[in-house]
Amino acid sequence: MKQLVCISKTPETTAKINFKDGNTAFDESGVQFIMNPYDEWYALVRAIELKESLGGTVTVINVGPASNDVVIRKALAIGADEGIRVDAEPKSALYVAKQIAANAEGFDLVYCGKETIDYNGSEVGAMVAEYLDQPFVSFATKLEVEGNSATVTRDIEGGSEISKIDTPFVLSAAKGMAEQRIPNMRGIMMAKKKPLNVVEPVGFDDKVVVSSFTLPDAKTECKMIDPENMDELVRLLQEEAKVL
């Protein structure tokens, strides 16, 4: 089975968020980046698990500049076989989907994370499916594959929906599909020998232009209290929040 996992790079969850160019672009300076957790922990790991039990290959794809190679290397260190980087700024979800679709022919299964935790669009997967003219299952929490047929579970309000679907198709992975795998040093060294192909983007006139971003109002201070330390919680509610 040939599997393709779309991986994106996203600011570390504790990064300070600022915008530049008249609030139209994200200011990356001083920001630490990570692989999007939904792509890494759920989509990628499940693809690797299926490769381990059923055979085949796992390819990862990212649309972005050369500084994204470290994210692809990490995916290779965790166990993917090869990487593709489309050498272009990921301008919008539609643009990214177009670039991914241009490289996604011939795969039995294409995975995205349910969303990227930066802009939280949840759009790329469905758009890739549309470009490929394939079915799409969103927010999948469980995936089993037998031959050409897959059983996909997705959580819905108050229960779950289980569907059967033939490959090829596209899905977006949500929490529950697999568990995080931490790469080991051997994996990191092996990743250096795996192919990472850099390809040019296909021409595409983007249809979405961001006019501006705004930051939410500054949050009031948040204190973390250990669930076992109820006395401290009561004390803070009485003495500092003065709500009790």
Partner: protein, 393 residues
């Protein structure tokens, strides 16, 4: 009680730009491993003065044993900076956990790799690298610590064996070790390396109790009463004190990086606490005296990071001298201990509890300041190096 590990890496001078993708991936991976496997349990194990044995397997799996040794001998095939970064992240968790890895990789696998026969390498290294065997390193004796050359542990030839007698003290991992690399004098008074295996008649390894430091690492003695060791267990390719000293150089190099991890953890905790703890209606981080502490901490950490990085680039070229390693070990461990003390103060009374990591790091670092060459001995090494005059003994 397990606390949530909210640690974030601090890189004030953008040293990350000097690191390769492998280094950053190694750091991220070991940091994730420490948050998952070490942080949730370490306060509890330290409190009970118990070694979390199960971590040996985990350390092996993540690749913390001998990361810079060749892959075919159970190592990771990485460079010296990757090795340093890994030690830093482990010691960010706990100096005892870092010690488990330092001893296994630098003091047991390294001498067998560097001085062992091909058969010894094949017999021991893969099992040590995979954590199937635990190793220990016996140099220090009850009456010979800073002066290992005075050792009285000895081997005498007897047919196709040697008879080993003597005792070693303060040996990390000894009570749980399957193999011990022991340094002993032969009949001509030359220091030789001997691989001693658990179960050899006359060999025992009692635990040392009552440590207030490195409580999550197990320490013991090695006692040899007419232990018959086959000749093929002698490390063939080294004679003299340079054998154990070259292993110590490797381990001290790792400690120079490791200590930064302990310092970073204390700083990180103090910085967060100083913003959250309100006194006199303000976060304590707003008082100048707290800022002085925090500003000096990050300055010292940044200097130590640069020292370690430069030492790493020298080590990658095979040019880091033992005296340069001494300087970095001494400076960085002392820096970390001072930071642990200051960070403890910033936490006020909470700082002495195991809700926060500072006191544990502080107690651990008292050992780190003493083992692998004491703070003063490293100063004398620098003194000897710059003056050419020997102030020892």
């Amino acid at each position: 009680m397990a606390r949530t590990d909210r640690y974030e890496h601090h890189d004030y001078y953008g040293i990350d730009e000097l690191l390769s993708d492998d280094h950053k991936l190694a750091r991220e991976a070991v940091q994730a491993w420490v948050k998952k496997e070490v942080s949730p349990i370490i306060e509890d194990y330290s409190n009970r003065s118990e070694c979390p044995h199960h971590l040996f397997k985990g350390l092996a799996e993540i690749g913390a044993f001998g990361p810079s040794l060749p892959v075919e001998y159970g190592g990771g095939g990485m460079d010296e900076i990757a090795y340093g970064v890994i030690m830093q992240e482990l010691e960010r968790g706990d100096s005892g956990v870092r010690s488990m890895a330092s001893v296994q990789g630098s003091l047991v696998m390294y001498p067998i790799y560097r001085f062992g026969s091909e058969e010894q390498k094949r017999k021991y290294l893969p099992k040590l690298g995979s954590g199937e065997y635990i190793g220990c390193f016996g140099l220090t004796e009850p009456d010979h610590g800073s002066n290992p050359n005075g050792m009285i542990t000895n081997i005498k030839e007897d047919g196709d064996s040697y008879i080993l007698n003597g005792a070693k003290m303060w040996i990390t991992n000894s009570p749980v070790a399957d193999v011990a690399v022991v340094w002993a004098k032969d009949e001509e008074g030359i220091v030789r390396g001997v691989i001693v295996e658990k179960g050899m008649p006359g060999f025992s390894a009692p635990e040392i109790h009552g440590k207030w430091s490195l409580r999550a690492s197990i320490t013991g003695e090695l006692v040899f009463e007419d232990v018959r060791v086959p000749k093929e267990n002698i490390l063939p390719n080294v004679a003299g004190l340079k054998g154990p000293l070259s292993c110590l150089s490797k381990a001290r190099y790792g400690i120079a990086w490791g200590a930064i991890g302990a310092a970073l953890d204390c700083y990180d905790s103090a910085l967060r606490y100083s913003k959250e703890r309100i006194q006199f209606g303000k976060p304590i981080g707003q008082f100048q005296l707290t800022q002085k502490k925090l500003a000096e901490m990050i300055t010292e950490i940044t200097k130590a990071q640069l020292l370690a990085w430069r030492l790493g680039t020298l080590a990658n070229k095979g040019e880091a001298s033992p005296a340069q390693i001494s300087m970095a070990k001494r400076n960085n461990v002392h820096m970390a201990l001072e930071i642990a003390r200051e960070a403890r103060q910033i936490h006020g009374g909470m700082g002495i509890t195991n809700e926060y990591p500072c006191m544990r790091h502080m107690m651990n670092l008292e050992t780190v300041l003493t083992y692998e060459g004491t703070h003063d001995i490293h100063l004398l090494i620098t003194g000897l190096d710059v003056t050419g005059l020997n102030a020892f003994g």
